[in-house]
């Protein structure tokens, strides 16, 4: 019995060309730029000074508020300077620039096995998850410590792990589930312990049979954890849609999963939780899918934080001549890259290189009121109407039409036969409304 969300959704070509391939390791460059803002919330505050030697995994910036997350050095080296670096969108943001020591010195020497993880307390798990800089690895980069700190009076019944990976092209979660199923489930159990949840469900889309088999095999030893198959549909991995599919519960507009007793984490986040708790290992590397129809050697790469996007593309065979667009993330929700030399960050799950013919939008035509966007919207909104409100600055009308519950999943723009920039204008309304608050 395949589970799925009930309303809307689309079925883009999965294009999982890198599925089942080997994981290759990418080396950090000689100069590593580590961004200080790698999570939602306040940027981390640097605690190192120029000239200071740092080890791989050493704290270089601390959390600067409740919703904030510390940053650790991905390499052994010397801090050169603290200065802004251009991010993937070309915006200058504070960073720590580290000159790496001789090649081959980045060993995991200082990480130790923890003695008895099963006896660890909830507080200890939350502290370690916070100290090791674990953030949502699915792309939202919400500090996991905050998510695990359940406020008094709230009860968590379910911890859900998101292994849907519904974005076309991306395969890093698939690869992680195939290779590290037991580690992911151990991380899941720490999350369950920290939040007091008694049941855990892992949701995986049906187009990843090997990941499902591996995870089910690993889940055999834990009676409180089940692995459910999800129908392949976008946006199956969206938080509210995943909760509906796996538990039948609906998160009301403007509320959090916690309000219906659920916590959702990405499978890669659970893996990072395991590393943080058992190995005291901070988040300094992650799996990144580097893919595209014209790349000669696409695949999943183990990438230290701070590795330039351009280095990843080189590792995947180099930039094809007809490249028209580079995307950080997947094709549905990822962001176009204007600066390929920008360093990778904790939330970057993929680099997608699209050829010129796939990188331009069609010219927008008149809306023919076909209703395709309304049928595709997983939130039951009327995107064609919201676009008109956005175009005409009718923000209060847009608010009344629930523009603020839009997921920005892009299903409306994807299906529009007139290629109208529906989501662009919805974002405009949302941005204006949020800045008014």
């Amino acid at each position: 019995m395949m589970k799925h969300f009930k309303k809307g959704g689309i079925h883009p070509d999965p294009c999982k060309i890198t599925a089942g391939g080997a994981v290759r390791r990418v080396e950090s460059p000689a100069i590593v730029n580590v961004m200080l803002s790698q999570s939602i919330g306040a940027p981390a505050r640097a605690v190192v000074k120029p000239g200071q030697a740092v080890n791989r995994g050493e704290l270089i910036a601390e959390a600067s508020g409740f919703v904030s997350s510390p940053i650790h050095s991905p390499v052994n080296g010397i801090v050169k300077k603290l200065e802004p670096v251009r991010d993937a969108q070309g915006i200058w943001r504070p960073a720590v620039v580290i000159e790496r020591e001789e090649v081959g010195s980045d060993e995991d020497g200082r990480h130790k096995e923890s003695d008895c993880p099963d006896s660890i307390s909830a507080e200890e798990i939350i502290r370690k998850v916070g100290d090791m800089g674990v953030v949502g690895a699915g792309g939202a980069t919400f500090p996991t410590r905050v998510k695990l700190s359940v406020p008094d009076g709230k009860k968590v019944d379910f911890v859900l792990l998101n292994g849907a990976e519904c974005e076309p092209y991306l395969t890093c979660d698939d690869t992680l589930m195939r290779r590290k199923p037991i580690e992911i489930l151990r991380g899941m159990r720490y999350i369950m312990k920290a939040t007091g949840a008694s049941r855990g469900i892992v949701g995986i889309e049906a187009n990843k049979p090997q990941a499902i088999a591996a995870m089910r095999d690993a889940a055999d030893r834990y009676p409180e954890i089940e692995v459910d198959v999800l129908r392949t549909a976008y946006p199956q991995g969206s938080e509210k849609q995943l909760i509906e599919a796996l538990t039948g519960r609906r998160v009301p507009a403007g509320r959090l999963p916690l309000d219906v007793g659920v916590i959702v984490d990405n499978v890669a986040t659970a893996y990072n939780v395991m590393e943080a708790v058992e190995l005291d290992k901070p988040v300094i590397e992650r799996l990144v899918t580097v893919t595209g129809p014209a790349l000669t050697s696409p695949g999943d790469f183990l990438v230290p934080v701070g590795t330039p996007i351009s280095t990843l593309i080189e590792a995947a065979g180099g930039l094809p001549d007809n490249t028209g667009k580079i995307i950080a993330g997947g094709p549905m929700m990822g962001r176009a890259v204007s600066n390929p030399d920008a360093p990778s960050v904790k939330g970057m799950s993929g680099v997608l290189v699209l050829p010129m013919e796939m990188s331009r939008r069609e010219e927008a035509k008149a809306c023919i009121r076909c209703g395709a966007c309304v049928r595709a919207c997983p939130m039951g909104l009327e995107p064609y109407l919201l676009m008109t409100y956005g175009e005409r600055d009718m923000d209060e009308e847009a608010r009344a039409a629930d523009v603020l519950s839009c997921l920005e999943c892009g299903s409306c723009s994807y299906v529009c036969p007139s290629a109208r920039p529906i989501l662009d204008y919805i974002r405009l309304s949302r941005t204006r409304l949020r800045s008014k608050k």
């Binding site: 507009a253 930039l319 204007s338 796939m358 069609e362 023919i368 939130m379 920005e408 036969p417």
Partner: protein
């Protein structure tokens, strides 16, 4: 990495991929769906039918081109193929022997008044082809109800003895003593406007549109079901009402026009049921023998209201 390629990267907001389905592609699907009915009309009415169709299509496309080019002075939009469909549908609503200049006037009104005066495709309130047809019906009532006395499919299964008067299938509706020949009506052995004569061919076209997911079942099914129900309720021949006149054409191709029909399934059902009811009321008690065009146009006017009250359920 600093090359000619990275200097010229395209930057846009997500999503970065698209279905590939286009407005033009949808319109061409509708044209394909109209082909069976078009062939039937040529079989029944011969070269007259082809001539009327060509006249309407050419004048509709030309009207849109001229208005874009010389009145609105904007990019020409005829490549979206919507004027082509308006022309085809208008021709389907005309008698094959209508004088050519009337067909031209109808086309100019359909595209010029029915569509372009509102701003072009997507902004019109009423189905353009029906605006053209009703304009002609009111202006030239005699010519619009004069049918060829001989049709190529041989027996006129409807009028039988009264073939010389050129009665259409609607004849039954007011002559309950004549037993209708349903099979003949379904395959084109009857008189009427070009696109009214082959219910079966229209249904094949509808099947194509449903398979290609160009339209949903809501509007055609609700119109036909509601018309049959009210025909039965008011003591008529439900099957004759379905097969006769423009009901099948209206249900499959005119009322399903995206621009002038409601967005949600619930809205479409209300829209369709009301069209069925109004059609039967006009046929029974109205001054005109046929009511499909008026019923659709009337309900077109209510579409904004229906859309307002039939919103999709929020998550």
């Amino acid at each position: 990495m600093d090359t000619e390629i990275t200097k010229n990267l395209n930057i846009s907001l997500s999503p970065h991929i698209h279905t590939g389905r286009t407005t033009r592609g949808i319109m061409l699907d509708v044209v394909i769906a109209l082909v069976p009915a078009l062939l039937i009309s040529i079989w029944v009415f011969g070269a007259d039918a082809l001539f009327t169709i060509c006249t309407c299509v050419a004048s509709c496309v030309l009207t849109e081109w001229l208005i874009n080019k010389y009145m609105l002075r904007r990019t020409v939009t005829i490549t979206d193929c919507s004027a082509l469909i308006t022309g085809l549908l208008l021709a389907f609503n005309l008698p094959s022997i209508l004088p050519w200049w009337m067909a031209v006037i109808g086309s100019v009104v359909a595209v010029g008044v029915g569509k372009m005066s509102f701003g072009g495709l997507g902004t019109n309130i009423w189905n353009p082809a029906l605006v053209g047809r009703v304009f002609l019906l009111i202006s030239f009532p005699a010519a619009m109800t004069t049918w060829p006395t001989e049709i190529a499919s041989g027996i006129d299964s409807v009028s039988g003895a009264t073939a010389s008067t050129g009665a259409t299938a609607l004849h039954y509706l007011n002559h309950p003593d004549v037993t209708p020949n349903y099979l003949g009506m379904a395959v084109g052995q009857m008189n009427g406007s070009l696109g009214e004569v082959g219910a079966f061919a229209l249904l094949i076209g509808l099947g194509y549109l449903l398979i290609k997911r160009v339209v949903t079942w809501h509007i055609p099914v609700s119109i036909l079901a509601s018309a049959a129900f009210f025909s039965w309720l008011f003591g008529g021949y439900p099957l004759a009402d379905l097969l006769a006149g423009g009901l099948m054409l209206g249900a499959c191709f005119m009322a399903t026009d995206y621009v002038t029909s409601p967005i949600t399934g619930k809205g479409k059902l209300i829209f369709g049921c009301m069209i069925g009811l109004i059609t039967i009321i006009i046929r029974r008690w109205g001054a005109y023998p046929e009511g499909v065009s008026f019923a659709i146009l009337l309900m077109n006017s209510f579409v904004p209201l229906i859309n307002r009250y039939c919103r999709p359920k929020r998550f």
